[in-house]
Symmetry: C2
Amino acid sequence: MYKAELWKEENQPSLRNFDERELIDSVNEGLGLRGKIEKIVDQIWKDGFDGIYFIGIGGTYASSMQVEVHTRGKSNLPIFVENAAQFLTTGNKRFTKNSVCILSSVSGNTEEIVRLVERVNEIGGTIFSFIDTPNTVLTQEGRYDYLIVSPKNEQLKFFMVANYLMYKNGDFPNYNKYNEEMEKHLAVALVEVEKAADAWACDFALKKTTNFHERPDLPHYFIGSGNQWGATYSYAMCYWEEQMWIRTKSITCEEFFHGMQEIVEWDTPVTLFIGEDEQRSLGERVARFLPKVCGNYTIIDTKEFKLEGISQENRGTISHLVMRAVNNRVDAYMEHFLRHPLSIRRYYRQFDY
Amino acid sequence: MYKAELWKEENQPSLRNFDERELIDSVNEGLGLRGKIEKIVDQIWKDGFDGIYFIGIGGTYASSMQVEVHTRGKSNLPIFVENAAQFLTTGNKRFTKNSVCILSSVSGNTEEIVRLVERVNEIGGTIFSFIDTPNTVLTQEGRYDYLIVSPKNEQLKFFMVANYLMYKNGDFPNYNKYNEEMEKHLAVALVEVEKAADAWACDFALKKTTNFHERPDLPHYFIGSGNQWGATYSYAMCYWEEQMWIRTKSITCEEFFHGMQEIVEWDTPVTLFIGEDEQRSLGERVARFLPKVCGNYTIIDTKEFKLEGISQENRGTISHLVMRAVNNRVDAYMEHFLRHPLSIRRYYRQFDY
């Protein structure tokens, strides 16, 4: 067996793949879309709607789940999450010409999303698209009612839509103060999370890489709830499986206790994501259980990060972004220790299927 | 290594753990609840409601997902699925005193469900409970508005509620003919599926057991969509993980193509469940992909079973029951080959956590 440890000693870079300026600018660019978003939501509000559906596939489905759970306990607005492929087959009888579909696509040509747009157009519903890449299929006229072309920050964009909808519905009295705080502090707070997590992330990545090298068959388990569930699900599937080709399983904290717990043994690699939203207690329950049966678990708790300038009551709404910042650091070192460029794919978009 | 093959040759029982009469009687007992269910739904309908929420945890959450997807494309009734633990933490602002919670519990004392009932009572919503075990916490007065105590057939019960709601809403014109057909043929059709699948299931269980013995770390992958998703999710987690202690991962067909596909290799054990509801095409896409990258896949397609007396247009509504019948046979032989009584648990309800 080769020695991952040696790689670390010889090559360990400090803050590998880290461009502080770019990260700050990107988050602020995302937050800077608020004016455009509010104008569009004002129009949607004025026109009236019977449902707001965040619809995605893969990573964008995960982001859709995050924004839905963000609103579910705070607002009685009819905000729902849908999977694009399910919408295209089963459909949704409650989705009408008065319904609004909110979607996001990085490539601007994701197959299921292109077909989703056609279907929503047939029904006569409204399409509000966030597309990262200009001059793509989904930025063509007739493919949207409202369009914002801007790279990255998918979750921020979705949450900004939801937050403004909740504000207009009277569910978000501190909306202005909240945005002031985010616009002033969020970008730097997230960059500081990356810096604070970096050394730990390098060690964690080495540990996980070693686990993987020793037992490549063994899945790495990720557990998380609330707005961490989308993070947990997509991190396991869209990062470790898709980009690193490492087996994973993800499960919510509450469902963990109804089956999956039985296959956790003393040396099973388990990572628990704990955030600070309403479902934090579900993560804490797993945190109490794990040490009793497992010696190879890791807990990443967003509470441990400072988040300068973000008030206590607002921390929970960005827990998923904090976790993403931590995992950015993990990914940078996983790529290095695995010697596996995260951009390569075995099958995805490599041939027709 | 011990020889599972020898066990098969020496011990292979025909139709292990199979009581045809008991199976038929049980399904017919479930279907026989229709009169009681309709009477309760009539009252709920008369009182009016702003939402019908099927709420569960673990296996009952899976059944709730199945009934929701069964109605989503057919009816504009406000029928939703919720996870009990999420309802207890995040809550749902749209769930009001005019909302109805439909739940099921085998034990009659599942922790999350007991607390769910308290929470719904606080809100003032209506509780319609199916409890398998008499004289339990959840059958006590004050813990329900409507109660049916009857063992097994959770999915049938949920679907009967949904079907009658859809009938009353004008979404199910063939309701009477449908029930006539089910009441006349379903029980025997399902028993015939078990008989038809038995020899295959024995071989499949031997193959899977051998895979597990050779590479115990390797997860067994289960893929399925539509009303098969609840079956896929709960079969992987509540049967293989919880009852057999075999690692699994379950994923929907549509999401499989957005990450998980990358970790399928030539010898990865993958089982695809294909049903006959609106999402069948999503399963067929996976069926086209798998053979190109994997030589250790199995497809279980409900279409291959006769289902005497069930019309073509109704087959899709019972695909999950057909799959359950097939898997009953698989489980019987897995238990034998693994020498692992399915009733034992490492941790579940063994100590406080």
